[in-house]
């Protein structure tokens, strides 16, 4: 009788068996991924994962960006005079876009970039060829999320770290009247409002307890003008994010 009861009990608590298929084109790293998954420890708590937040990107985020020209960003006063443009920038709350990434291993977080490489990168960015349109979505121009991560996260690769500039450098390197506001990474979380413009702040919904960053925030690419400066401040329990359109 005890065996029957324990049998019921164990059959009730049996872990589900999940079958996962790994497909992909040749030479995309499927077998490497499989071997990596085999040695990955899924059962322990992720040490840095609790510090990462997921945020909901408002729908139309990518689609409204195409309406943003440099002329629209001369000053916040001009934006107030043109309510139609301001209306075009408005966001609707939307379902979550599932673009996630994840923190890098420790060895990558420790890496640092020479300042010479950054300077070259920034100078080459000012050539005006800053827009790549994807083959299917030709109307989407800007995908430039620049992020400061004052805590453990993915290390920016050398070509994709223009935000490491110090604030003193940014004035020298900006052109066309485009004033870039680069928040200092060493700013405390309470000072984040200093770095963002008044009408340009976009508050994003953040929920504590979520894990991941959107993909484009982690690895911005180098070919775009840094028109969108994103600065994420973090306290221990509450996460807040602001967009600043320079």
């Amino acid at each position: 009788m005890f065996g029957l009861a324990s049998g019921f009990y164990q059959s009730y608590l049996i872990p589900p068996e999940v079958t996962v298929l790994i497909v992909g084109l040749d030479d995309s790293g499927k077998s490497t991924l499989l071997e990596r998954v085999k040695v990955t420890d899924f059962n322990s708590k992720m040490s840095v994962g609790k510090r990462i937040a997921v945020q909901q990107i408002p729908n139309g985020f990518l689609h409204t960006e195409k309406k943003i020209d440099r002329k629209d960003h001369v000053s916040p006063v001009q934006q107030r005079k043109s309510p139609s443009k301001a209306h075009a920038l408005e966001m609707k709350p939307s379902p979550k876009r599932r673009l996630f990434s994840c923190p890098a291993p420790k060895m990558y977080q420790q890496a640092r970039v020479d300042s010479d490489e950054e300077t070259e990168l920034i100078e080459s960015k000012d050539n005006g060829e800053d827009v790549i349109s994807s083959p299917t979505n030709g109307n989407i121009e800007i995908h430039d999320g620049i992020i400061d991560l004052p805590y453990n996260s993915v290390e920016m690769s050398p070509a994709t770290s223009p935000e490491r500039r110090q604030p003193g450098q940014s004035g020298d390197l900006s052109n066309d009247g485009l004033q870039e506001e680069i928040p200092n990474p060493s700013l405390p979380a309470s000072n984040h409002s200093l770095a963002v413009g008044e009408s340009d702040v976009r508050e994003l919904d953040l929920k504590a307890g979520k894990k991941m960053f959107p993909l484009h925030l982690i690895r911005p690419t180098s070919e775009f003008q840094p028109r969108l400066v994103l600065f994420i401040c973090q306290s221990s329990l509450y996460t807040q994010s602001c967009f600043s359109l320079s």
Binding site: P15, P16, I22, V23, L25, L33, S134
Partner: protein
């Protein structure tokens, strides 16, 4: 074909790694009825050709629209992100003419848009007329990472296994 068995997220997971050569690709469909989750691996290294990514997208779309894969969570894993941003390591000048158009500086967000911007059942015209139609499918997620360094792998498979385990539990009840 490689097999792997792990225990993760309170579930026993069987991983099946199928071949990706052109001859092997028609065999993928035979497994669709027996699985609970799919990982679709794409190569986003800077030296990958754009045409190859487009080919991958075509296969992904076929897979996504397959009727037997309804409600099956699909993880698109953008692999080889450790090579991104280090273009100096590659001598592209030497054999430049032999290659097609390379991904090079294409941002990951562009790639993600390529794969995620067209949800199930939404045509391009729907998207143009009504942006609200571009709601992403809950069962599809794109994670970036590198299988070589392990970056991003755990987060991706945490999501996938949890989605798969949920699906299995729903099927049992």
């Amino acid at each position: 074909m490689n097999l792997g068995k792990i225990e993760a997220c309170g579930a026993k997971v069987r991983l099946m790694d199928l071949g990706g050569q052109i001859k092997m690709r028609p065999l993928w469909e035979r497994y669709y009825n027996d699985i609970h989750a799919i990982t679709f691996v794409i190569d986003v290294s800077p030296t990958c050709e754009v045409s190859k990514l487009m080919e991958a997208r075509a296969f992904y779309r076929c897979m996504r629209d397959d009727e037997s894969l309804r409600n099956v969570p699909i993880l698109i894993f953008a692999n080889k992100t450790d090579t991104r941003g280090s273009l100096d390591d590659y001598n592209t000048d030497e054999e430049d003419e032999n290659y097609g158009l390379l991904l090079e500086d294409t941002s990951l967000l562009d790639i993600a848009e390529l794969f995620l911007s067209h949800p199930k059942g939404a045509s391009r015209r729907d998207l143009l007329t009504k942006l609200d139609a571009a709601t992403d499918d809950e069962n599809v997620a794109l994670f970036a990472g590198s299988a070589k360094t392990g970056e991003g792998v755990r987060a991706a498979f945490d999501w996938l296994i949890q989605m798969g385990a949920t699906r299995v539990r729903e099927a049992q009840t």
